[in-house]
């Protein structure tokens, strides 16, 4: 008898998602799908509002990465005003962005994924959480919380508050950094940098111990896309788009983010509210690509800060001779390298005397018909595209968020992991946890990507050959 297993909702990610595993008569996984079952339509809500409101409106999309939406929208309205913010404003925006990167990645790794790695996928579910982690490894759990707090404090210092700052305005920002704020953050750099190194060492130890499992966990080729600096270095706030093919060839380089619609397109499937972006030149699904930490480290020539660059050589060695690092589990390592990079960038920005300047806004009297803002959010490339009328009213909005761009890859990872680890004839909870962990590697924000409302959990359903529901597990 063939069956279908549904994991619904998936836990330790943000938003509502479901996994269905179709089993054949022997209990082997025949097909797997990752469904996103939320819908919000945020783009529609914005129509009719004045374009200058967009940085404060769009940050309401998400409670996890409001800063990313705030900054991407700010860049888009800069483009509408055809204005370049002064250097200090740009630096302060990047400072805030680095705070977001650090706090988001710290929570993803230490609190949502580390319990599986440190306690084991087959540990009792009630132990696989932050409290279990504290009991098992209190030092690293505290460091994870400390990193998250540091990132939040960087956001608060730059934006004036931790939540929904009205920091960015057309052509700049509205708050200068004080000497006390700068010095307070600088005094913590050495400590938080050590915590990031401790996290990397922890993960490297796990990889060494579980090499076979990790290297085969959700490993498959895709294209990779992200922003890079003109010198090929890692970039999160600005830069140009680069696309690499599965064999490591740079197929698009120095691509203007404003022309993104010529670079990528979106496919739809009738079983998910989340679209499937793809590299236009390669078609769908062959042109499916990944974004986020793994993609960024795969496409860049160097990171650009000394301590993170030293970690990049180890990251590259994880490819096991392939041109790209393909394993989904290596997202975690890339994530922690970016935490270290973020801390180094915070230090560099704060040590530049220009950061204290009060030249914060460039003026503009021009109004363009449209503007595109692109940044690298923690989870990957984030596109905000606004079209306005003569009065500055929003006529149309297009938002393409990171988790959507990883949709194909999350589906593929779920399928690969399920085929490898799920035995429908002898179903165990730990098997399904591995399938969830494949999704967690991508740290998706499904609320954000479908512009949805709610929280995520997990449900598993079993279907027989006639597609009748025969079993169901929820948590």
């Amino acid at each position: 008898m063939s069956r279908v297993i549904k994991i619904d909702p998936i836990t330790r990610v943000e938003g509502h998602g479901r996994v269905t595993l179709h089993l054949d008569e022997s209990g082997a996984v025949e097909r797997a799908r990752f469904h996103v079952v939320e819908f919000r339509g945020f783009e529609k809500f914005c129509e009719g509002r004045h374009f200058s409101e967009m940085p404060t409106l769009t940050q309401r999309i998400c409670g996890i990465c409001p800063v990313s939406h705030h900054l991407a929208a700010a860049k888009a309205i800069d483009a509408i005003c055809n204005v370049e913010p002064p250097p200090t404003a740009r630096m302060l925006r990047e400072l805030m962005h680095m705070g977001q990167l650090i706090q988001s990645h710290a929570l993803s790794f230490f609190h949502l994924s580390a319990p599986d790695l440190l306690m084991g996928f087959d540990a009792p579910p009630e132990k696989r959480n932050i409290f279990g982690l504290i009991a098992e490894d209190p030092g690293n759990a505290r460091k994870g919380i400390g990193l998250r707090k540091f990132g939040q404090d960087v956001i608060a210092a730059s934006g004036g508050r931790k939540i929904h700052p009205d920091f960015c305005v057309p052509g700049g920002v509205n708050k200068a950094l004080s000497v006390d704020e700068r010095d307070g953050l600088l005094s913590r750099i050495d400590e938080v940098k050590q915590w990031a190194h401790d996290g990397l060492n922890l993960l490297r130890g796990y990889f060494d111990k579980e090499q076979s499992f990790v290297s085969g966990f959700g490993t498959f080729p895709t294209f990779y896309m992200g922003l890079i600096r003109p010198d090929g270095g890692l970039e999160h706030y600005d830069g140009l788009l680069r696309m690499k093919s599965p064999d490591g060839t740079i197929v698009e380089d120095s691509y203007s983010p404003a022309n993104y619609l010529s670079l990528i397109a979106e496919a739809t499937e009738d079983w998910s509210y989340l679209k499937f972006p793809f590299y236009r030149a390669a078609g769908y699904p062959e042109g499916s690509y990944r974004v986020g930490p793994l993609a960024r480290l795969n496409i860049c020539d160097q990171v650009g800060t000394p301590e993170a660059d030293a970690e990049l050589s180890y990251f590259r060695s994880l490819s096991q001779g392939k041109p790209m690092v393909e394993g989904s589990m290596y997202f975690h390592y890339a994530r922690l390298i970016e935490v270290l990079f973020g801390i180094e960038r915070v230090a560099l920005l704060l040590n530049d005397p220009e950061i204290l300047s009060e030249d914060l806004i460039a003026e503009s009297t021009e109004l363009c018909e449209e503007g595109v803002g692109v940044i690298e959010a923690p989870r990957g490339t984030l596109f905000h595209h606004f079209m306005v009328n003569d009065h500055g009213g929003i006529e149309r909005v297009n938002l393409i968020v990171a988790s959507g761009q990883n949709n194909y890859a999350m589906n593929r990872a779920v399928a690969e992991v399920a085929r490898e680890h799920v035995n429908g004839a002898q179903l165990e909870e730990s098997m399904l946890n591995k399938v969830e962990a494949a999704v967690r590697c991508y740290d998706p924000c499904l609320s954000c990507s479908t512009h949805a409302l709610g929280q995520m959990g997990l449900r598993v359903e079993l279907y027989d050959a006639e597609r009748n529901l025969v079993d169901e597990v929820s948590r």
Partner: protein
């Protein structure tokens, strides 16, 4: 005796009454509550685990939130205890989980209360419904009295106040 008191509110002011706690914090700030050296106000969109670190140097924490439970009093002020249940499956922690995090990490676990305000209309838009606005007024009054009491008298653990529906 002076105490270190943190008032932590969270919600979304873009969703009507869901922003009740943040409006209450604004009101307390306008009253000059933070002029007291031992009282600080903290506004959050949601409670993340790092809030536990902020709590650890406090003797008293008051969490302020909106609720939509029709079975619960419209305005209630209750003691909250540490609880690891529903442990951080997402990015949001409950007050009970934050207390449990403090305890698990060997940090000081403050006395904690939840001031819960009924939300009647959480549709898109700024501003509170008339009913929730009145509850915020009563919540400000209640909290002001509590602050005066805590700042001048010994803390009595385990008490709970329910203000009528």
């Amino acid at each position: 005796m002076s105490r270190t008191i943190r008032i932590i509110g969270w919600g979304n002011v873009g969703r009507g009454d869901d922003g009740a706690a943040l409006m209450l914090l604004d009101r307390l700030a306008e009253m000059g509550v933070e002029a007291y050296p031992d009282v600080t106000l903290h506004a959050h969109h949601q409670l993340g685990p790092e809030v536990a670190v902020d709590m650890a140097d406090a003797e008293v924490v008051v969490f302020v939130d909106a609720h939509v439970d029709t079975e619960r009093a419209a305005l209630s002020f209750d003691v909250v205890q540490a609880d690891t249940g529903g442990a951080l499956d997402s990015h949001h922690c409950s007050p009970a989980m934050l207390l449990a995090l403090c305890r698990s990490m060997g940090l000081r676990t403050p006395a904690a209360y939840v001031l819960a305000i009924r939300a009647y209309d959480c549709s898109f838009g700024d501003g509170l419904s008339r009913e929730t606005g009145e509850l915020v007024d009563r919540g400000v009054e209640l909290l002001s009295q509590r602050l005066d009491s805590w700042r001048s008298h010994a803390l009595v653990n385990g008490d709970a106040i329910v203000v009528g529906a």
